[in-house]
Amino acid sequence: MIVLDPNGEKLNLMPLNVGPSHPATHGCLRFLAAMDGETIVASVEEIGYLHRGFEKMVERGTWQQVLPYTDRLNYCSAIMNNIAFCRTVETMFGIELPERCKVLRVIVNELSRINDHFVCIAAAFQDLGGTTPFMYAFNPREEIMCIWEKLTGARLTNSYARIGGLYRDSYDGFENDVLAALDSTEKALKDLHACLDRNRIFLDRTVGIGKISAERAISYGWTGPCLRASGVASDLRKDEPYYDYETYDWEVVVGTQGDCNDRLQVRMAEIEESVKIVRQALKRLAPGPVDIVDPRIRVPAHKLAYQDMEGLIGRFKSVYEGIRVPEGEFYCGSECANGELGFTIVSDGSGHPYRIKVRPPCLTQFAAFHELVEGGQLADSMAVLSGLNIIAGELDR
C-alpha cells in the first residue's frame, strides 16, 4: 500500500502477516504489520484462535467442575489458577482456611511462579536464538514437574486446589523434594545470569526494545512483572495480602526502563524472591488438617462416605447438586505469574455458577503490543512478544 507519512513523504509499505501458527507466536497469536523495509510502521493484533468458551462451559457444571477448566487458562502455572479461583469463592463463603492449607498453597503458588517464569525466560531466549539458557531453565522446571506428579498425579493440568482445602495433603518427603528443587533453581539462576547478564548479543536484542512508560502501562491495565518492570511497585501479595504473604520476608522486584530486558530480569529476580518465600514457608509447615470441616463446602473424606451416613449424604449432595455459593456478585484478583488473575463471579445461590468472567493478565498486555513494536524491527517484535509471556490459553479463554 502506498501512504504519505506525517511529513508528507511517500512510502510504499508492505502488509506482513505474522501468525497465527508461527514458531515464535507461542500459542496462536496473529498480528498484521505494515512494513517499511525491516521496520514496523503500524501493527494490529487479532486474538481468539484458542477461544474455547470457558465462560460458557463453566455455566453448565457445578462450582467444583470449574476447577479443571481453570487449569487450562495459564497452563504453565495451572495450580495458581486453581488457587485464584478457589480464593474468590472462599472469600464469598467467608472461609478461614487451616494454617497448613495456607502454607501449602503458598508453597505450590510460588513453585508455580518459578515454573512459569522459567518457561517465559527459556522461551524468550529460545526465540532470540539461544538454546543453552533453555536447558538451564528447564532442568529445575523438570524437578518441579516431578513434584507435581507426586503431589497431584498430573504434570501440567493439576487441579490441586479445592474450594475449602486441597485435593490432598503433601506426600512423605515433599519437603526434601522441594528443597532439592530450590537448590537447583538457584543454581540455574546463577547459570542464567552468567550466560546472559553481560551477553552482548542478548543485550543488543533486548535493551531499549519494546519500551513502555509506567503511565501507559497503567492505562493499559498492565499488572504483574510487566508492570513492575516499568517501575511500579504493585504486587497484590503486598497490596492486598492473602495467605499471610505479608508475614514472609521478601521484596517486590521493580525495574526501571520498562523494556524487554527489564521484563526478563524482573522475572529472574522474582524467582529469587519466590525461593525465599518457599524456604520460609517450608519452616512453617506444621502438621494439621488441610481441609475445612464443612460437608456443605468441602466433600467429606472418602473413608467417611463408606462408614458414616452424614459423610455419604455430604458426598452425594456435593457431587450431584454442587456446593451453594452465597448469592451475590464479587470481583477478586490474585497475583499470578503474569499479573492479576481476577474472577468476576455472579452467583444466584444455586449449585451452578451463574456467570464467571475471567480477567486474564495477558489480555491487557497483548492489547498494548502494537505500541511496543511500532518503530522497531520485525525481529524485535519476537523479543517483545516472548518477553510479555503471552499465554494463549488465558488470553483467549
Partner: protein
C-alpha cells in the same frame, strides 16, 4: 477509615449512584448510562483515591436469574487504585434489551477498547463512541452472541476464515498520522468481499 465508602457517598451525591446490594464483599455502585463517562472520569482524575487502573469489564445477562427485576443486561466495571494500593471499586451499568447501548470509556482507559469489544462480541451490547467495535474472541463469521443465556451452548457454527485485518491496519496507520494513498491490491472495493472466499456455502 473506609475511604472507598466515602467516595461512594460522594458519587451518590454528585451522580445519584445507587449501591448494588448484590455485592456484599466490596463496593459496587449502580450508575445510570448517561453518567458513566463522568463517573469514570471523576474516579480516575479527581476522587480522593484515584482509581487509575481499569481492571475488568464484564457483561452479565440476567435472563434466567431467579426473581430478577429490572433490565436484562448489565455491564460491570472493576477499577483499582495504583497510587493507593489495595483500594477497589466496581461500577455497574444496567442495559435494557431494547436499547443495548452504553457509552464507551475507551477514551479514558486504553484497555477499555478490547474489553468493550469483548462484551460486544459476547453479549451484543453496543458501546457508543467506540472507535473500532468488532468482535474480539469469536470469528467474524460468527452469528449471535454466545454468552447470552438464550444462546444454546451445544450449537455449532461453521467458521472458516480469519479476521480481515487490512482495514484495521489502514485505520491504525491513519491514527498514527499516515494517509493511505493507494490501498493494497488485496483490498477489494468492498471490505466484506473476503468472506466470499470462505467455504461456508
Amino acid at each position: 477509615m473506609n475511604t472507598v465508602e466515602e467516595i461512594f457517598s460522594v458519587l451518590e451525591e454528585k451522580f445519584g449512584v445507587k449501591r448494588d446490594t448484590r455485592d456484599k464483599w466490596g463496593v459496587c455502585a449502580v450508575v445510570g448510562a448517561a453518567y458513566l463517562h463522568n463517573v469514570v472520569q471523576f474516579l480516575k482524575d479527581s476522587a480522593a483515591i484515584k482509581f487509575e487502573m481499569l481492571v475488568d469489564i464484564a457483561g452479565i445477562d440476567y435472563l434466567t436469574y431467579p426473581n430478577h427485576e429490572g433490565p436484562r443486561f448489565a455491564v460491570s466495571y472493576a477499577f483499582k487504585s495504583v497510587s493507593t494500593p489495595g483500594q477497589r471499586i466496581r461500577l455497574k451499568v444496567q442495559v435494557s434489551e431494547d436499547s443495548l447501548k452504553v457509552p464507551t470509556i475507551s477514551d479514558l482507559f486504553a484497555n477499555a477498547n478490547w474489553y468493550e469489544r469483548e462484551v460486544f462480541d459476547q453479549f451484543g451490547i453496543v458501546f457508543t463512541g467506540h472507535p473500532d467495535l468488532r468482535r474480539l474472541l469469536n470469528h467474524v463469521e460468527f452469528v449471535g452472541h454466545p454468552l447470552r443465556k438464550d444462546y444454546p451452548a451445544q450449537k455449532r457454527q461453521w467458521l472458516s476464515t480469519n479476521d480481515y485485518l487490512l482495514p484495521a491496519l489502514e485505520k491504525r496507520l491513519e491514527d498514527l498520522g499516515y494517509r493511505v494513498v493507494q490501498r493494497s491490491k488485496e483490498v477489494g472495493t468492498n471490505d466484506n468481499e473476503f468472506l466470499e472466499g470462505s467455504i461456508k456455502e
